[in-house]
Homo-oligomer: 306 residues x 2
């Protein structure tokens, strides 16, 4: 397949995934008029704020790539997006990154107040686990597998990984990012971005009944994809076109955040992103042509379309 066709196929699949996820979330989420209405409005406002649904896509594609039925994985795909959304709502809080806008819209606490934003994030996290525990069995996923999904998501989202990364970041921020070592930036990025992407890939694999070897490959893939994604994100904040990206740039630099370009320089960061992409694609080798969409996704990320 030519690269152009692959990209077209990828965009088609991404769009189909987005529609599926949004329809399922709309069905499964409490409605806006359910008590307490303000909380459910805040949850829906945050969830339907125009996300690309990249993490759900990873769950569905990794399920498919091992020969699984991606419809069975739909509740898990929704769960990872709900969990990701909770982390965004809390990251934006005044006591954290203090962001007033996300994807061009006022952040949750700007619209609903800080207290409701904290509770909105809390309830979204709970809802992610509720989806795994209630909706996966309804789709015929065995309890053992659903329980493993809960364990994988909880571990990735927990104090050692996702939340741990944010804790490291705000601790470093409070110290004016005085430690600008390569180890530190990796420590944070592995946790803040790669851990959840790895969990998405492994969860998709588990539901698709992957072998141990396949799960290891998916875990590696998720790791390198996550790093490639984060390094590219850092580079774009440095050199990206705000109009093309749909978000403001230069904020990391302004806040002296610990990013790849600032620790390694732009050229070296580009090399590192390209290397992460290579490693991600290598991890997919055992899946042959079945992994073409995932491969296209990785390249697409590097070429900064996502």
């Amino acid at each position: 397949m030519k690269v152009e066709t692959e990209i077209a196929e990828l965009i088609h699949r991404l769009e189909r995934c987005r529609q599926k996820i949004d329809a399922a979330l709309d069905e499964w989420m409490p409605k806006e008029d359910e008590i307490p209405s303000v909380l459910h409005k805040a949850m829906r406002y945050s969830l339907f704020a125009g996300g690309k649904r990249l993490r759900p896509f990873l769950v569905l594609e990794c399920c498919r790539v091992v020969g699984g039925d991606e419809d069975k994985a739909l509740p898990a795909a929704c769960a990872v997006e709900v969990l990701h959304t909770y982390t965004l709502v809390h990251d934006d809080l005044p006591s954290m990154d203090n962001d007033d806008f996300r994807r061009g819209k006022p952040t949750c606490h700007k619209v609903f107040g800080e207290g409701i934003a904290v509770l909105c994030g809390d309830a979204l996290q709970t809802f992610a686990f509720e989806l795994l525990a209630t909706k996966l069995p309804e789709r015929g996923v065995p309890a053992e597998v659903a329980l493993k999904c809960v364990a994988v998501l909880a571990k990735a989202a927990g104090s050692r990984w996702l939340v741990g990364g944010q804790a490291l970041d705000i601790t470093e921020q409070a110290q004016g990012y005085s430690d600008r070592s390569p180890e530190k930036v990796l420590l944070i990025h592995e946790r803040k971005t790669a851990a959840l992407m790895q969990a998405c890939c492994v969860i998709g694999g588990l539901i698709g009944n992957a072998t141990e070897e396949q799960l290891v490959a998916l875990n590696d893939f998720g790791y390198w994809l996550g790093l490639a994604f984060q390094i590219t994100d850092d580079i774009l904040d440095e050199i990206g076109d705000p109009e093309k990206l749909g978000k403001s740039v230069g904020k990391d630099k302004q806040q002296k955040k610990l990013t790849y370009p600032m620790v390694f320089g732009l050229e070296k960061s580009r090399q590192m992103a390209a290397e992460a992409v290579e490693r991600a694609i290598e991890a997919l080798l055992i899946f042959g042509n079945e992994a073409n969409t995932l491969k296209a996704l990785v390249r697409f990320i590097l070429e900064r379309q996502l």
Copy 2:
């Protein structure tokens, strides 16, 4: 058994439960020196702040009362306490109840800062689900049962119940508690207190392999126990002896909070608490003498020892 003996037996069991829970939590929680250290310190600071471990006790006793092995339920008993602790950490935040002290110690955000306190609560919630998903199977609890425990806890802790109650409370607070109707105070208390206690009882029952009839009874028991607990708590804030209680009183009144005494008056509130206790004890009838400790617990709560 005489009432004095029952109370002595109850106190003995409560103390044994506290020791078991604290030892297990100490073993299972990430250590203080694990990265990120500040987050793990905050989590342990909040968890080991002298809680009575009432909710874990409910899990263990409800497992035992249906003939189950309470050691199997230990991870779930820890999980409900971890989840309860997360809600306390977030409730105390400046954007919520803005409390500087809890049980005589500075609250999490006073010691570690607001950002870390948000993340600490987040990570504690995640850890509660991780415990259920990883430690219950290790103790021989079938995956189907462990997954049901995840579902029950997630539902009770979610936007319709526990977090929903807090959302209603801060919304009413923002409006100066202008709606002081009986319906409103019940709506909040059912959610903020009763829902998690019900979940504790049902989870204990599930792990103890309870019948459907027993689960219904445990669910009812948890509901009335939760209401009795909350009404008594409200009364104590109005008339309690701060020294005996180990906490300040009169805060609800000062903040014009929606409490039973303020909506129904003191005398009627006492009647309602006594009625809730009666209903809780009625729900235990099907368990015969096996439920003596739980019965003693309910009376103990009404007589404001807990």
